[in-house]
C-alpha cells in the first residue's frame, strides 16, 4: 500500500531516529511512503490562539494530499490527531468546509475531505496487522521487557478512533510490541499524560506529570519505555535528567520509538535504526539483541 508520509515540524528536525526507523520498517513490510515537500505545520500549535487558524492550516495539508489522491500517515500523535479531527470536520460539516475553502482560495487550494489520516501505528495495525508483523519478524526480541506509552492523542478524542483502540483499555501498541517477541511490561500509570502540552507554560507541572510514569517504569525493570510521539519524547527522554534531579529519583530509563524496536526484530541494525540519537542509551536492550 502507498501513503503520504507526513513528518510535521518536530520529527524531521529533532527525532531523526523515529523518522529513519519508521521509513525502514514500513518499506520492509511493504508500505510505500511518498514524501510531499509542500507539507507544512499541522496547525495544532495555533489552536489555543485561534481554532480557525488551526482548521485552515490543517486543511492546507489535507488539500495537498487530495491533489495526490493518497491517504496520510503521520508520525506525531498531535499531528495525526489534528489532521484527523479537521478531516472529520471537513467531511461532516459542509458549512465549515465552505468557509475553510474561502480561506484556502488565495493559495489556490481546495479541500473536500476525501483523504484518510492515520498515525503510523494505526497504519501498521490496519494494513499489516499483528500477525503480519509476527510473520515478518526474523529476530524475535526474546527476554526484552518493554513498557508501552500510547500518548493522549493516540487514543483520544475516542470518537475519532472508533474501531481502532480504547482510551481506557488500550491494546494496539502493546500487541504490536508482543509481536516483536518482546515481553510487554504493565505498570499503573500506563494512561498518564506526558505533560508535554504545558511544558512551555509550566515546566514544573509538566515535569511532575512525567515524573510519575518514569518512576513507575523504572521500578518494573523494563529495558525501555516505547513511544510513538515526539512530544512525549520531549518529556520522557529530553526532560528525564531534570526530573531525576528535581525529584531525587534514580532514573535512567531508556526511551525508544516503536519502529526502532520493530526494526531490531526485523533484523535491522541499531545503527540503521538511528539508535545513536537516543540520548539515554538502551545499552542492555541492544546487548541482548545484537550481542
Amino acid at each position: 500500500m502507498e501513503a503520504l508520509l507526513y513528518l510535521g515540524c518536530t520529527v524531521p528536525i529533532r527525532n531523526l531516529n523515529y523518522e529513519v526507523s519508521a521509513r525502514l520498517t514500513a518499506k520492509a513490510l511493504g508500505i510505500t511512503f511518498r514524501d510531499l515537500e509542500e507539507f507544512g505545520c499541522c496547525g495544532f500549535p495555533l489552536k489555543s490562539l485561534n481554532v480557525e487558524d488551526t482548521l485552515v492550516t490543517a486543511a492546507r495539508n489535507l488539500a495537498l494530499a487530495e491533489r495526490e489522491d493518497l491517504d496520510i500517515c503521520a508520525l506525531c500523535n498531535a499531528c495525526a490527531g489534528t489532521l484527523n479531527e479537521v478531516a472529520h470536520q471537513v467531511r461532516t460539516r459542509p458549512e465549515i468546509r465552505e468557509k475553510i475553502n474561502q480561506r484556502l482560495r488565495p493559495i489556490g487550494l481546495h479541500v473536500e475531505g476525501k483523504v484518510k489520516v492515520r498515525n503510523f501505528m494505526r497504519l501498521l495495525w490496519e494494513e499489516i496487522g499483528v500477525e503480519g508483523i509476527r510473520k515478518a519478524v526474523t529476530r524475535p526480541l526474546e527476554g526484552v521487557m518493554l513498557a508501552p506509552h500510547y500518548g493522549c492523542h493516540y487514543l483520544k478524542p475516542s470518537e475519532l478512533n472508533v474501531g481502532f483502540d480504547s482510551p481506557e483499555t488500550p491494546r494496539t501498541l502493546s500487541e504490536m510490541i508482543s509481536a516483536t517477541g518482546a515481553e510487554v511490561v504493565n505498570y499503573p500509570s500506563l494512561l498518564d499524560c506526558c505533560g508535554g502540552g504545558l511544558l512551555g507554560m509550566s515546566e514544573e507541572v509538566a515535569n511532575a506529570m512525567a515524573a510519575h510514569k518514569l518512576a513507575d517504569v523504572s521500578k518494573t525493570g523494563a529495558h525501555a519505555l516505547v513511544l510513538v510521539c515526539p512530544f512525549c519524547n520531549v518529556m520522557y527522554e529530553g526532560q528525564q535528567k531534570k526530573i531525576a534531579k528535581a525529584t531525587g529519583l534514580d532514573l535512567k530509563t531508556p526511551v525508544v520509538y516503536y519502529p526502532q524496536v520493530l526494526g531490531l526484530a526485523l533484523g535491522m541494525t541499531s545503527e540503521q535504526l538511528g539508535f545513536k540519537l537516543n540520548r539515554i542509551k538502551p545499552t542492555s536492550l541492544l546487548k541482548m539483541v545484537e550481542g
Binding site: P12, R14, P45, V51, E52, P167, G200
Partner: protein
Amino acid sequence: MTKINLNKLDPQFKNRVAEQPGGEGLKACFSCKACTAACPIQPLDKRYDPRKIIRMVLLGMKEQVLRSDFIWLCSSCYSCQEVCPQNVRFTEVMYAIKNLAAQEACIPPGLTAQRSLLRKHGRLYEVGEFENEKRLKFGLPPIVEHPEDFEKLLPDQPSSARLFNTADV
C-alpha cells in the same frame, strides 16, 4: 476564599464562550466533577479545576477567567471530555476560553512567538543547511520551507481571523 462581586459579573460571558468553536454544550454542565477527577493537572495545581472553571464561566466571571494564567495549564489530554456524562467537550471549551482570552490580548508570550515563527516559515522550527546536512547523513530527503502560503493563510494578528461566523463552527 475571595468574595464574588456581583456587580462585576458579565452575564453575557457564558454566551460568548458557547458561541466559540467548541464552546457549545457548555451550559449542559450539572457540576458532577467527573472532569476534575479525571484531570491530571488538577492534583498538581489546584488553580486548574475544570468544574470550577465552568462554574466561573456560567457565573460570568469574565475578568477572573480570561486574565488568569491558569487557563493556559490545560495539557489537552482529553481526559475530562472522555468522562463527561453531559457530553460537555471540556477540552474544546478550554480552547474556546483561550481563544477569547487571545481576542482580549491576554496571550502568553511564548505562544505569540511560536505563531510568528510558524507564519514566517510554515513550521515551528526554521530549517537551514545544518538541519538538512544532518538529514542527508541519515539518508533522509531535505525539508523545504514554503512560507509564501502561510502569510496569505494566516492573518497578522492571532485574533483577527473572523471570516467564520463563530456560531456555526
